[in-house]
Point group: C2
Chain length 276, copies 2
């Protein structure tokens, strides 16, 4: 007997640097790069239902990644999503909602898919919806994640940096992932690959933040309000970087609050997505 | 400046079925199989020290896997290990202690190793100490782990089954891993590969427990006291299996307590090892 309800928790994911890898196959498409998962994220509750219905914080909503996951798995469900994070601001929520839906649907409908199967379904949904290129694989793993090769398993290849951190973040607004990616993919990819190589030569938390800063400066994706925050933190002797892709700034420890801001506070989540 | 102390938590790991894969290279040596990590495990605290010193629950002890990890990483440290689990009874503690030492030493000495590097060091230490063949890679990942290909990254290959469970377990005594493995490796490996294939055809939590039961019956590793418990649980309409390798029986939900036993209670840990 399938359980009548299943709930998955998926951490938010902040990418600090990335390189786009576009192919004709959504399983192989994705990004190389580095980012971390956060203790703030999404909770996804899946129930069998007569029609497909998706609610985000109680509001009926269309979420491309979730819709595609339900279609791919061939199930009709009511999906209730709760999150404290703002959508479209660089926390990988689209990917997280899809991944949570995949984990929940597999449990509630007893689909007999392995973790890798479900990651693949959610990654493809995120890529095809145009909402993310590397969040899903990182969210499934958790921690400070190095995306060495793009794509879902078995093509993608991950590593990690074992670390802990208090995370501070500030969000000023949305950025459209497809719009930004279409603007200058070659430039982003050159800068992202370079930043990843310098990080791999010295894989530490501090080097990650520096590499993310350099990447932000190189690709010029920072908006005016993001640039102001980054400069203020730096002038105060701290370090901050921009979340890819959103008008969001993050720092470790107290570097945003020490510079006079009133940030949200979380921590690096070492765990990754799981059923609850 | 390196931090003066680092602490890692590593879940216990219970293998339900396995097949031995021996090679000349400890990185490639290991086991295929399936098991789960538990919320009960070990805490490993690492501090720089003038001499190598290892304490388990306050007692100076020699732990082969820990010693080898310190040597491999070239560090001199005091390692304090705490655990509520009994050693040598099938919870993968040797592997867990080595992995926690690797994570802790990397952090406290700022070694700049990636997660994969550290898993490899701890896996090789466990294999060379003769104390485990697949615990480390599973403990690093967490959850109900399928070991598809033996060995440490990049050779080993894992998948998982997303599930939750209350775990009940009872320990009656120790079994020596090297002794058991040397007795009949070919027979174990044939049975383990067969059990893994039936599990992969239907990768669910219930099938895992059945496959572990079948494996236990096939290889005849159960001692008299383990066999009595397994038969009592089965007569009571429940399901239990033996932890490889220890005189330990485990079950999900309430199947041991429903059969009149007074088991230890934990849960499947979805998270895997991490710094604290």
């Amino acid at each position: 007997m399938p359980e009548p309800v299943a709930r998955a928790v998926v951490p938010g994911h902040v990418t600090g640097l990335f390189a786009v890898h576009q192919t004709d196959d959504p399983v192989r498409t994705g990004s190389r790069g580095a980012g971390f998962t956060m203790t703030d994220g999404v909770t996804v509750t899946v129930r069998p239902n007569d029609e497909r219905k998706v609610l985000v914080d109680g509001e009926p909503t269309t979420v491309g990644s979730v819709q595609r996951v339900l279609e791919d798995l061939g199930v009709t469900a009511r999906v209730e999503i709760e999150t404290d994070l703002p959508i479209g601001t660089g926390f990988g929520l689209s990917g997280g909602m899809g991944l949570g839906t995949a984990f929940g649907a597999n449990a509630v409908f007893d689909l007999g898919q392995t973790t890798t199967d479900l990651i693949r379904v959610a990654h493809v949904a995120d890529v095809e919806a145009g909402t993310g290129l590397g969040d899903v694989v990182a969210q499934a793993r958790g921690g400070l994640v190095l995306r060495l090769e793009a794509g879902a398993p078995p093509h993608g290849r991950l590593d990690g940096i074992e670390t802990t951190a208090r995370v501070e973040y500030l969000t000023r607004g949305e950025l459209s992932t497809p719009t930004v990616l279409n603007e200058r993919p070659a430039e982003i990819t050159r800068a992202g690959n370079q930043a990843l190589e310098t990080l791999l030569a010295d894989p530490t938390r501090d080097r990650f933040l520096e590499a993310a800063q350099e990447f932000t400066a190189d690709v010029g994706l920072a908006t005016e309000s993001v640039r102001t925050i980054l400069e203020t933190v730096e002038a105060n002797g701290g370090q901050a970087a921009m979340a890819m892709l959103g008008e969001t700034v993050f720092a470790f420890d107290h570097d945003l609050s020490d510079a006079g801001y009133d940030p949200q506070v979380a921590a690096i989540d070492p765990c990754g997505a799981s059923l609850e």
